[in-house]
Symmetry: C2
């Protein structure tokens, strides 16, 4: 009764396992057989859930991009000042990256493996998400050039998205606080001089 539509639990299970494998070995380094085996099926069974390997990747990246953008926009809209907005964006991105290291890894690496036209759509979403950051930064530094704000944003993403490569020596809260501090300072430093 609570479930209005069919529970596509298998799809999600596959997507989750695929994210893990793609993050570890790269899209081309993982076969359909590997993906099936990871969820206790044979390779061809995946075609009951996805149109093909590329479609699976496309759906995964599309979902990530949409989640990042939607919640990012929501938080910016809810903020009263650019400073608060930036803080909210930082917390959102850090939470997402710490909760979904595999997704972040795939998201930053495998765009090139997605076929058109999904590729274009994903790029659009990624850019829109980045532009939220740029917009906030420009509100905080009205005299700054857009170019600089964009470059600073990408550098901050690089810093935040490095989490998966830090072999979890710090506990989650400490790591979140550290990343927040470092990215904050970096983004401030980007507009001094």
């Amino acid at each position: 009764m609570a479930e209005v539509s069919a529970p596509p639990t298998r799809r999600l299970e596959i997507l989750s396992a695929a994210a893990e494998l793609f993050a570890r070995r790269g899209y081309h380094g993982v076969s359909i057989g590997d993906l099936g085996r990871a969820v206790g099926l044979t390779g061809p069974a995946l075609y009951r859930h996805f149109r093909g390997k590329e479609a699976l990747l496309a759906e995964m990246l599309l979902d990530i991009s949409e989640r990042l953008l939607t919640e990012g926009r929501r938080r910016v809209a809810a903020a009263d000042t650019p400073e608060v907005a930036l803080d909210a964006l930082l917390r959102w991105h850090i939470d997402f990256a710490l909760d979904n290291p595999a997704l972040i890894t795939v998201h930053t690496r495998e765009l090139g493996s997605v076929p058109q036209p999904e590729r274009r759509e994903i790029r659009r979403l990624q850019r829109a998400y980045a532009e939220e950051w740029v917009r906030v930064l420009l509100l905080m530094h009205p005299e700054a050039a857009e170019d600089r704000a964009r470059a600073a944003t990408h550098a901050a993403f690089g810093l935040l998205n490095s989490t998966p490569h830090s072999t979890g020596e710090l506990d989650r809260d400490t790591m979140a606080t550290l990343l927040h501090a470092m990215a904050s300072e970096a983004l401030t430093g980007a507009f001094r001089s």
Copy 2:
């Protein structure tokens, strides 16, 4: 007379083209045929220069790791204070990343595609390079935990290595200065509180 040994220009040409392709499409996304074509040869011609595709990748990553470590160590040894050492490391890494965006990309992504035992050796070199940074940071902040210094180092790497993804809107000098400022501030902020 100036050339003591044979000039292996073809090898370097291939390695350079391979770096570009691996960075763009990933190791598994590039075929031997692609690599040959990129330097005006057929696929099998590559076997005159490398034992195979994996050996080519291994040599590439090994070379990068060695260059980073050697010059990093040199600069740290030449510095009188940790502050000067950190500045020197930052400049070195930024120069390397801006001059060799493809190499940096492959270096951070494709370790997993290198077979043992080269993989272990590359990891060792990468770790040793990171430890140079950690050592300098701990000299600057003797009270800090090693874990934190290591995590901060990896985050800084993420920031610096993001260059290839910033679609070169800023000119090189501006970008170098921006990255230096952001990474400096980030690494300082990592040890406040």
